[in-house]
C-alpha cells in the first residue's frame, strides 16, 4: 500500500525512518480503517484475505471464510459472468471495473443509510486488480466502494428532471398540454404527415361568452369550467390526439391520420357533450357551450401555421353563426374579420 522505498530512508540519527514491522502495522491499520471493502482471492477464486469493512458488513467470522470459494461465501454473485471477468484480469493482467450504473451491486451488503434511502443493498463500484506476489500463483484484489449516496442522489436528480420536463409541458390549471408543447407537437405531426403522406386535422375550440361567466360567477367559477371542460374533452379523444390549451379560453386538438369528415364528427360530439354537460358551481347549475373550427391539412399548405389559420377562420365562422356549433374550414366562404 505504501511505497517500500521509504524503508531505505535513514533519519539523521542513522536509524531507519521505517522498519518492516512498522510498515506491516501501518498497512494493515489503513486496510482495516478504509471505508472500502478489500477482498483478495487466488486464481481459483478462493478467498485469501479481506479487511474489516467486509467482515463487519457481512457479519461473518474471518476464520470461516478464508480458503472458501468466493461463490460459496457470496452465493448472490453471478458466477458465469464474474468468472469470465476475473479470468480477463488474470489473463490480460489488467484491471477490470463494474459500476453501480450498470449493476447496482455485486455483493449483497447492508449500507449505512437504511433509513434515509430506499435501496435494500449497498450500491457499489467494484474494481478488480491483478496482484503479483513472490508466489507463482496470481491473485486478484477486489475493491468494493460504497456509492449508495451517489446512487440515491442520482435517482433523486433523475426524478426531479423528469418532473421538471413534465411541468414544462403541462398547463398548471387544466393539467393538459400548454401552448408551447402543443405547438411543438403540431410541428412534429405536420412533418410526419408530410413525410408519410398521411392526413392531419385540427380542431380549435373556444368557450362561448366566457367573459360573461367570469363577470357573473367570479374567476374561480371560470377556472372550474376550464378544468371541467378540459377533462370532458380529454375523455372523448384517442391516445394519439394531442389536446392543449392554446390561450385563455381557447383550446386546440391535433388529430393525426384523420380526415376532415372524421374531425367534424368528433367536433360535433364535443360540442354536444359540452352543451348537455351539467356543471355545478357552489350548488348553481352552469350552462356552457363551445364553438369549434375544424380544418384538414391541404396539399397547398406549406407550413403548419396555415392549418391553425384555417381552423381559426372556421372557428370565427362558428362564432358568427350564433355559437355552440362546429364549422369546417372547407366551407368558410367569407373572411369573417373583413
Amino acid at each position: 500500500m505504501l511505497d517500500p522505498n521509504a524503508l531505505t530512508h535513514l533519519k539523521s540519527t542513522g536509524e531507519p525512518m521505517l522498519t518492516e514491522p512498522m510498515l506491516k502495522q501501518i498497512n494493515s491499520q489503513i486496510a482495516n480503517q478504509l471505508n472500502t471493502g478489500v477482498l483478495v482471492i487466488d486464481d481459483e477464486f478462493n478467498i485469501v484475505m479481506w479487511n474489516r469493512f467486509l467482515q463487519v458488513h457481512t457479519d461473518k467470522a474471518t476464520a470461516n471464510i478464508i480458503g472458501q470459494s468466493i461463490f460459496t461465501i457470496f452465493p448472490e454473485l453471478p458466477e458465469r459472468w464474474l468468472t469470465r471477468k476475473l479470468t480477463s484480469v488474470l489473463q490480460l493482467n489488467s484491471p477490470s471495473f463494474c459500476s453501480w450504473q450498470q449493476r447496482h451491486h455485486l455483493f449483497e451488503l447492508p449500507h449505512t443509510r437504511p433509513i434515509t434511502t430506499d435501496s435494500e443493498f449497498m450500491a457499489q463500484n467494484c474494481t478488480f486488480l491483478p496482484i503479483e506476489t513472490d508466489c507463482a500463483q496470481k491473485h486478484i484484489c477486489i475493491l468494493i466502494e460504497d456509492v449508495t449516496d451517489v446512487c440515491h442522489y442520482q435517482g433523486q436528480l433523475q426524478k426531479t428532471l423528469e418532473e421538471l420536463a413534465q411541468m414544462s409541458r403541462i398547463d398548471g390549471l387544466t393539467q393538459i398540454y400548454n401552448r408551447r408543447h402543443w405547438q411543438e407537437s403540431l410541428a412534429q405531426e405536420y412533418a410526419k404527415s408530410r413525410r408519410h403522406n398521411k392526413k392531419l386535422s385540427l380542431i380549435m375550440l373556444d368557450l362561448d361568452h366566457f367573459k360573461l361567466l367570469n363577470d357573473n360567477y367570479g374567476h374561480q367559477c371560470g377556472d372550474m369550467v376550464l378544468t371541467e371542460i378540459s377533462a370532458l374533452v380529454s375523455s372523448l379523444l384517442r391516445v394519439e390526439d394531442t389536446f392543449g390549451r392554446y390561450g385563455g379560453e381557447e383550446f386546440a386538438i391535433i388529430l393525426p391520420e384523420t380526415h376532415l369528415a372524421g374531425a367534424m364528427e368528433l367536433g360535433q360530439r364535443i360540442c354536444t357533450s359540452i352543451a348537455t354537460a351539467s356543471l355545478n358551481y357552489n350548488g348553481v347549475a352552469i350552462k356552457v357551450t363551445v364553438s369549434l373550427g375544424v380544418a384538414e391539412l391541404s396539399d397547398d399548405d406549406s407550413r403548419y401555421e396555415e392549418l391553425i389559420t384555417q381552423a381559426d377562420l372556421a372557428l370565427y365562422q362558428a362564432k358568427g353563426q350564433g355559437r355552440n356549433k362546429v364549422c369546417s374550414a372547407a366551407f368558410v366562404t367569407s373572411f369573417p374579420l373583413a
Binding site: S88, L92, P95, S96, F97, S99, N125
Partner: protein, 202 residues
C-alpha cells in the same frame, strides 16, 4: 512550433514504441478473445481543443464513446476515448465470451473498452519503464446527434493535446472501433522527457 510539439526523432521513437506495444497487445487480446485482432498503424498528431471537437463530431454514426482516464509515474497521464459505431458493435457480448442476456449493451461497451485500453497501455507503459493506473471507464452521455452539443459543453483546460489514434478490428465478429488517446499539455512535456531519455540510450 510550440514546446508541446514532438520533434521528428521524438515522433519516430514514440511511433516505434507504439508499434511494439500494439503487436504485443494484439497478441494478448487474440489469446484472450480467441480470435485475430487487427490493429491499424496508428496516427500521431497534435490537436487543438477546438479541432478535437470537430474531429470527434465528424465521425459519422458514432453510437457511443467510452472514456477512461490513465495515469502513471513521471506525470504521464491522459484520457482514452473509444468510439463505436452502431453497425460495428452488435456482437460484443459474443466476442467477450458472455451470454447476450448476461450484460446490457452499455456494459458490453464499457467492458470491451476497458480491456482494449488497459491491455494496450499496460504494454506501452512497460516499454517506457512505467506502470499505469486507471479509473473506471464511463460511457459519455449522448443521445444520437447530441455528441457535438456534449463536446461543446466540455471546457478543456488545455489548448493542445497529443492525439494517438488506433483502430481495432476483429473481423470474425465484424467488430471495429477507434481508440483515441489524448495526452494534454503538461503530460506531453513529460512524455517528451521520457522519449529523449530513450533516444539518448541508443
Amino acid at each position: 512550433m510550440s514546446e508541446f510539439h514532438l520533434t521528428e526523432d521524438q515522433q519516430d521513437c514514440l511511433q516505434e514504441l507504439i508499434n511494439i506495444a500494439m503487436g504485443q497487445a494484439s497478441d494478448q487480446l487474440a489469446r484472450y478473445l480467441d480470435t485475430f485482432v487487427y490493429l491499424k498503424v496508428p496516427s500521431i498528431e497534435s490537436v487543438d481543443a477546438k479541432d478535437l471537437i470537430q474531429t470527434l463530431s465528424q465521425q459519422q454514426n458514432t453510437m457511443a464513446i467510452v472514456s477512461q482516464g490513465f495515469f502513471g509515474y513521471e506525470g504521464i497521464r491522459g484520457e482514452a476515448l473509444l468510439a463505436y459505431q452502431e453497425e460495428d458493435s452488435g456482437r460484443i457480448a459474443d466476442l467477450l465470451g458472455y451470454e447476450p442476456d448476461e450484460l446490457s449493451q452499455d456494459e458490453q461497451l464499457i467492458d470491451i473498452s476497458s480491456i482494449l485500453t488497459t491491455t494496450f497501455l499496460n504494454v506501452f507503459a512497460r516499454q517506457i519503464d512505467n506502470q499505469m493506473s486507471y479509473n473506471a471507464p464511463k460511457l459519455l452521455p449522448m443521445v444520437q446527434n447530441s455528441l457535438l452539443d456534449h463536446l461543446q459543453q466540455m471546457t478543456f483546460n488545455w489548448d493542445v493535446a497529443l492525439k494517438i489514434n488506433i483502430n481495432y478490428q476483429v473481423t470474425d465478429y465484424s467488430f471495429n472501433c477507434n481508440m483515441i488517446l489524448l495526452i494534454p499539455e503538461t503530460a506531453i512535456l513529460n512524455i517528451k522527457k521520457v522519449l529523449d531519455r530513450i533516444l539518448a540510450d541508443f
